[in-house]
């Protein structure tokens, strides 16, 4: 215990001392401690070690013997060292420990009870200090040497440059043992101690010396003796099983017969084989002869003797056959197939993978000059690779005639007549010609333009017959329309905010002219007889229908018969089929909704505003047309067309062409007759021409976008004689279509584009502004922004 105690102390305090003693073996250390206990004087290490080895047991007994005294002693002694510890140097402490040990070991009583001692720590509290356990020789554990080098299995040469050779188990450096001088070495070499090997113990770095026992062991191993002492190799044999036969058998049963009779079964099997060999069923192995092997390749039976159709799996794709060779592969091709220099160079320069053909056509002239084809094997090899390595995909190749894709349109020849060329140009207007109309007889056309004049021309000759200036220059004539019906020639023109009704003089025969004048004059009487409208209410004033007035003298002279002051600029005039009514639309944004659409009765000189309120959705009204046979008025605003039944005062239908801004529309002349339902074409400023079949849907049946600019006007051929319609666009072209409406409900209308008529020049972003058809012929007239009108036939 004392030793342990001492070592603990040492650990705690006496570092430098230990460092000095570190190189000594553990026993010596212990001995050192004891040595201190035994005597003060000398640090005779050698003696102490001996003693330690001898009386360790006794010491243990001593430890057990006295404890009380020790305790008391210790208390006393504790007082002293506490002070001493405070002031004294480590060496004194070192000395103190041994003294204590000394005392404790001397009084060997009752150490059983107390294996600790109580000390005062720095704060003056009790501190139990246990004795260290001394693993003595009885311990199971091998005596772990404290000074064993722990560097592990590495060569010592790593530490050559350091003063130490490793670390002990406590992490302390193990200093290199003092090497003797050369003389010492010499002496060492001269007197070889017992067990000297000349080797160095790697764990300690000291010369390895073998003990006597070890040497004996080695000798025994060397002499092939049994190394262990006391092993007797010739011990008497202990028989576990008896080597002697018993006389009596274990079982009394007699030996079975099969033990000494040959096996029948085996004989049977052998006989079988013998028989088979005799019969030739089993042949001894004979390697096949050459003939047999050759025979193997020969086919000796018909594989398809009982062939049955076995359709391939639907996903099976047979390998495509190689295409047959073309002319260019011939050994003597026609000369035009031979590549010229440029082609040859191009072929040579392209990558072999990119070439369209893997060979260049060559002309050899005669068969004897044809060489072998260089890459024949390679080509066949690649074919083999293709056959088993290439994924096969069925690709439907479009092998149809592109012509068959084209829709079967009736040829233009069959659809003739339609206007194809410009036949006459009407020049005279200054500025744009805004509107054009062919009169119902088809002899004259009326035009109105930016210069404020309305002119009447002879259609075929292009001669100007009549001209009247209706407004100032800045007030253009927006629209001119002839009254339908051949009994009279009445021209309605909208210029400025007034509508003028005129009978162009001296162009028709006098009777017709008179009839027309009479027609217009008849209304004056009716208007006079009718009670004057009340102008009292201010609010009503706005929507009061205007009174028709007589024109000024100058205008009256030139043929104008009546003026309707609308107060707003009318952009559209459309006559009823009978010629008694016409509808005007003032599409300006500032026009109040209630007065935008006006229906005028010629026979009564009466103007009515049928709509009180604004038409919902789509801005101000743009244009309006009467249905050709029913009392229905179609009114278009910017986005929709609405059909109103005039007799029942109902909204019948809403058509939604889907255009942003409708410019004009027209109703098919045979609508709602025996031949099918209503068909409407709509032109819009967003370049669309839409065909509506009202029976089908609200939405367009066909949407045509062939113009690059806005469409200004659309028109069906009147009377239904020719299934034609045309549109006029700002891109300066007219497009003529064939639009046939069939009688039966099953077939839809066929629309065939026929002709693009170009001739009008684009001036100021505007091209063709209006279009009209001849009532009988397949001719059309157009008014352009370039100041000309053209007749197309």
């Amino acid at each position: 215990m004392a030793a342990l105690k001492a070592s603990k102390k040492r650990k705690a305090v006496t570092r430098d001392v230990e460092e000095e003693t570190g190189v000594f073996s553990g026993d010596e250390l212990n001995g050192g401690d004891l040595d201190g206990a035994l005597s003060d004087n000398a640090h005779d290490l050698s003696i102490s070690s001996d003693e330690d080895a001898s009386d360790s047991e006794i010491e243990l007994v001593d430890d057990f013997s006295d404890s009380e005294d020790d305790d008391g002693e210790e208390l006393d002694s504790d007082e002293i060292p506490s002070d001493g510890e405070d002031k004294a140097s480590p060496t004194t402490v070192n000395l103190q420990g041994p003294f204590k040990d000394n005392e404790s070991s001397s009084e060997e009583e009752d150490e059983e009870q107390l294996n600790y001692r109580i000390e005062k720590d720095a704060n003056g509290n009790d501190r139990y200090i246990y004795d260290e356990i001394n693993p003595d020789d009885n311990s199971d554990y091998s005596d772990v040497d404290e000074n064993t080098n722990t560097i592990g299995n590495i060569p010592l040469s790593f530490y050559d440059q350091y003063p130490h050779i490793g670390y002990d188990i406590n992490g302390k450096k193990i200093m290199r043992p003092a090497k003797g001088e050369a003389l010492d070495a010499l002496l060492d070499s001269i007197e070889i101690p017992k067990g000297w090997t000349g080797l160095t113990d790697p764990s300690t770095g000291k010369p390895l010396e073998l003990s006597q026992d070890e040497l004996e062991l080695l000798r025994k191993v060397q002499m092939n003796e049994i190394p262990e002492d006391g092993y007797n190799p010739y011990e008497p044999l202990l028989e576990w099983f008896t080597t002697e036969k018993e006389i009596m058998p274990i079982s009394a049963a007699p030996e079975p017969k099969r033990r000494f009779v040959p096996s029948k079964h085996e004989a049977k099997r052998v006989m079988k084989i013998v028989k088979a060999i005799r019969e030739g069923r089993i042949l001894p192995y004979k390697p096949p002869t050459k003939e047999d092997e050759e025979d193997k390749d020969l086919i000796k039976f018909d594989l398809w003797a009982d062939e049955a159709e076995h359709p391939n799996h639907p996903t099976h794709i047979p390998a495509p056959k190689l295409p047959p060779p073309g002319y260019e592969e011939s050994y003597h091709p026609p000369p035009e197939y031979l590549p010229d220099k440029k082609e040859r160079k191009a072929w040579e320069e392209t990558d072999p993978e990119d070439r369209e053909q893997d060979f260049l056509p060559q002309d050899f002239g005669s068969l004897r000059k044809v060489p072998g084809y260089e890459t024949f094997v390679k080509e066949k090899f690649e074919r083999c690779l293709d056959l088993y390595l290439a994924p096969r995909v069925r690709r439907s190749k479009l092998n149809i005639d592109p012509e068959s894709l084209l829709p079967k349109l009736p040829s233009p020849e069959e659809l003739k007549p339609f206007p194809t060329a410009c036949a006459a140009v009407f020049r005279g207007h200054k500025g744009r010609v805004r509107s054009i109309a062919v009169d119902p007889t088809g002899i004259w056309i009326a035009t109105g333009g930016d210069d404020g004049t309305v002119r009447v021309w002879e259609l075929l000759t292009g001669r100007q017959l009549w001209s009247v200036k209706l407004a100032d220059d800045d007030e253009p004539v927006n629209v001119v329309r002839w009254r339908p019906g051949k009994d009279a020639i009445v021209l309605a023109a909208a210029a400025g905010d007034e509508i003028f009704l005129a009978v162009p003089p001296m162009i028709a025969d006098p009777e017709t002219e008179q009839a027309s004048l009479d027609l217009l004059d008849a209304g004056w009487g009716y208007a006079a007889s009718k009670p004057a409208p009340k102008v009292a209410d201010d609010e009503k004033k706005k929507s009061t229908p205007p009174q028709w007035v007589r024109p000024s003298a100058a205008l009256a002279d030139s043929g104008v018969c009546a003026v309707i002051p609308l107060r707003y600029i009318a952009k559209s005039i459309s006559w009823h089929r009978r010629g008694d009514y016409f509808v005007t639309v003032c599409s300006g944004a500032s026009t109040p909704a209630s007065v935008a659409i006006a229906i005028h009765t010629v026979s009564k000189h009466l103007t009515q505003y049928p709509f009180r309120r604004r038409i919902k959705g789509g801005g101000p009204p743009q244009t309006a047309h009467f249905h050709p046979s029913k009392p229905i008025l179609f009114v278009a605003n910017q986005r929709t067309i609405r059909a109103y039944d005039l007799s029942r005062q109902l909204l019948v239908k809403i058509v939604q062409p889907g255009a942003r801004w409708i410019s004009s529309f027209d109703i098919h002349p045979t609508s709602s007759t025996a031949a099918g339902g209503d068909n409407i074409i709509v032109g819009s400023y967003d370049r669309r021409l839409l065909w509506h079949d009202l029976e089908l849907s609200q939405r367009p049946y066909k949407t045509l976008r062939y113009h690059r600019k806005a469409i200004r006007a659309v028109k069906f051929h009147p009377g239904g004689r020719y299934p034609l319609f045309a549109d006029a666009s700002d891109d300066g072209s007219l497009q003529i279509f064939h639009g046939n409406v069939t009688g039966d409900m099953l077939s839809n209308a066929t629309i065939v584009p026929l002709k693009v008529l170009k001739g009008h020049k684009i001036t100021g972003e505007l091209g063709v502004l209006d279009i009209d058809w001849h009532p009988r012929e397949a001719w059309c007239v157009s008014a352009g922004a370039d100041g000309t009108c053209r007749l197309w036939m």
């Binding site: 060489p371 084809y373 349109l409």
Partner: protein
């Protein structure tokens, strides 16, 4: 809520399997898998979406159908492959122990024999199926038959390929089912029709094939293994369908002497014994005199034919008596009608093409293809030089029975030719100096044979005389297409309207002037030499209407003028000018007629030509307009499709236009 489907458990992910997975599933090595795929005809598939089919991110994966691989799992060949693998291990072990003899014994006796019969039956359930797939087989086997033996290609394989190919050729000869052949720069293409199936294959020219390093013979050998079995069965079936014994008798000795086709002797199965007896008697004599044996052989052939094909010959007789049985050729009366495909060349016709002739093949001409083709087209007597091998009808070039001789050497001037040797009576083989012309026979170049069989009739041999520049050799498989270039037709026929004029205009104009100058004097004396005039006008290639008969030209002119006026009605002011010119011309003509002078259109012809080109241009424009008009009515999708198709058509048209322009240049160059 529906159960959430797990990814990769159905659809494409299940239907496709990568190659690695397949190999792992079958538990064989990759080379074995390759062989198995080749034998079984299993090929990779392209999944519709690679991403869905594959679990990995690798792009270049090969996919197979899972069902295909599953079907391979039950393949008996798989066991053979495994046996082979086990044997290889055993051999390796014995070699490792140094027991070479043991290894040799194992290899010799225990190597598993692959039989591909069941595979062929599986892949080609009917005989027709097998015939349909014979193209590649024949091409490859003919190549291998012509390969030199190396350590990759054992001589046994080559011999087998040669035997099978010759057997097949013999069948074609007997049934006259070879239809077409074509000499290309790669080799010789043949096409035969067997039981209604067209089979085309390519035979290389007889030169040592150059083999580049990047050819894997193991793959080709696998194909050859399969194809030899296939062709063996096909040959057996073909022979037995004719009542012939298979395999035919093969004379090894004769084969060694270079008689390729002639080494085989076909024998009837039913009348097996008599020919055999003849054969036996023949054997001794054949060694003594080759010629006699050939004659006897011919007799034998005849006997066989009579025995086997009695009915056929009767039929032939019948057809000759009653011409009504033959198929008439239908010619469409109107050009716009559809033409139905008609059977070309029956076997009987093919068999009689060269029947009456005796051919002699000169040394320099390729014997093998010529012999095959001549025999397949009915020629029985073919002689050749002794150096070309055994089996000739005659080796004597001076044999008087020879009607045609195939030579392929440049013509020598007549004076340099050696004197014609007198025909010897004893019939001994006489040496004739090369280049000698023996009178009474036709000398042709080999191409004549090919052109004749492709045309199905005998062509003029003088075009193919030795030394003559041969007419171009054309592929018989190219059918004239609409818009395609056809070298057979004349340039004028297939040119687009006005193309020639445009081309001519584009070229230098002085040539034109010269021509016009030439025309003028011709026109002047047209009355005296009308015939000449006509010829000239034809030669000139320009329609000089004025030189023809006056009345005709007038009428034509008038009609044309009317037509032009009608067409040009919408063309505006240009047309008016044209009409005016036409009118004035007409007036001039009338005046000239009144004066009794021949009206010369010389001056007017240039203008007329110009007007014609204009007319054509306007017509083209009209057509374009019409197309645009039609396009306007199509939906966008359809329009796109149309444009795509138009693109390919346009490409073809460009190609043919290029060829035409080349030809025009050539003709011009050759003509002037």
């Amino acid at each position: 809520m529906a159960k959430i489907k797990k990814k990769g458990t159905s659809g494409q992910a299940k239907n496709y399997i990568t190659r690695t997975q397949a190999v792992r599933k079958l538990q064989i090595s990759l080379p074995d898998f390759r062989r198995l795929c080749i034998f079984k005809g299993i090929y990779p598939r392209e999944p519709r979406s690679k991403k869905k089919a594959s679990k990995s991110a690798t792009q270049n994966t090969t996919f197979y159908y899972t069902k295909d691989i599953q079907y391979l799992l039950h393949e008996p060949l798989l066991r053979k492959f495994r046996d082979q693998k086990a044997l290889a291990k055993k051999i390796a072990r014995s070699l490792g122990r140094g027991e070479v003899g043991d290894a040799a014994r194992l290899e010799k006796n225990h190597s598993p024999k692959l039989t591909l019969d069941h595979v062929i039956k599986e892949r080609y359930p009917t005989f027709i199926d097998a015939l349909r797939d014979l193209d590649d087989a024949l091409s490859l086997l003919f190549l291998f038959a012509n390969l030199p033996s190396t350590n990759h290609v054992p001589p046994k394989t080559i011999a087998l390929c040669q035997r099978l190919c010759h057997e097949f050729q013999h069948y074609l000869i007997t049934t006259n089912s070879l239809r077409k052949s074509f000499l290309s720069i790669k080799g010789i293409y043949y096409q035969a029709t067997i039981q209604g199936q067209d089979i085309m294959w390519l035979v290389p020219y007889r030169f040592v094939q150059r083999v580049n390093g990047d050819v894997d013979y193991r793959i080709m050998a696998t194909f050859v293994e399969f194809y030899t079995t296939l062709l063996g069965f096909v040959n057996f079936r073909l022979y037995s369908s004719l009542g012939l014994r298979y395999p035919p008798k093969f004379d090894t000795r004769s084969d060694e002497n270079g008689a390729e086709l002639a080494a085989f002797t076909l024998e009837g199965r039913t009348v097996g014994d008599p020919p055999k007896a003849i054969e036996a008697g023949n054997k001794q004599s054949s060694n003594a005199n080759q010629e006699v044996s050939r004659e006897v052989q011919d007799k034998v052939d005849k006997v066989i034919k009579n025995a086997q094909l009695d009915q056929a010959s009767e039929q032939v007789a019948e057809t000759t008596e009653e011409a009504t049985d033959a198929i008439d050729k239908f010619e469409p009366a109107a050009p716009e009608a559809d033409t139905l495909p008609q059977p070309d060349l029956s076997g009987d016709q093919a068999g009689s093409l060269f029947a009456p002739f005796t051919f002699y093949i000169s040394r320099e001409a390729p014997k093998a293809p010529l012999e095959f083709i001549l025999r397949a087209f009915g020629c029985k007597r073919i002689g050749w030089d002794t150096v070309l091998g055994d089996g000739a009808f005659t080796n004597n070039e001076a044999d008087p029975r020879i009607t045609h001789q195939i030579v392929d050497r440049p013509a020598l001037p007549e004076s340099s030719l050696p004197a014609i040797p007198a025909a010897s009576e004893d019939g001994a083989v006489q040496k004739v100096r090369p280049g000698t012309r023996i009178p009474g026979r036709t000398y042709v170049q080999p191409q004549w044979i090919w052109d004749c069989i492709n045309e199905g009739k005998l062509l003029r041999p003088d075009l193919y005389a030795p030394g003559a520049t041969l007419p171009p050799h054309l592929s018989p498989w190219v059918k004239p297409k609409k818009g395609g270039y056809d070298p057979r037709a004349s340039l004028a026929e297939q040119e687009e309207e006005g193309e020639a004029e445009a081309a001519a205009e584009a070229e230098d104009s002085d040539e034109e002037m010269a021509e016009a100058a030439e025309d003028k004097p011709a026109a002047a004396d047209s009355e005296s030499e009308e015939e000449e005039d006509e010829d000239e006008s034809v030669d000139g290639g320009m329609d000089v209407a004025g030189t023809d008969d006056d009345d005709e030209s007038e009428e034509e002119e008038e009609a044309e003028a009317d037509f032009a006026g009608f067409e040009e009605a919408d063309a505006g002011s240009e047309s008016e000018d044209e009409e005016e010119t036409v009118r004035t011309q007409h007036q001039k003509e009338l005046e000239a007629e009144a004066a009794g002078l021949p009206f010369s259109g010389g001056n007017a012809s240039a203008a007329k030509k110009k007007s014609q080109t204009k007319k054509i241009a306007s017509k083209k424009r009209q057509e374009e307009e019409e197309l645009d008009r039609q396009k306007m009515m199509m939906s966008r999708k359809k329009r796109k499709l149309l444009e795509k198709m138009m693109y390919s058509n346009k490409k073809q048209a460009e190609e043919s236009a290029k060829l035409r322009s080349k030809r025009r240049r050539l003709e011009k160059g050759g003509g002037n």
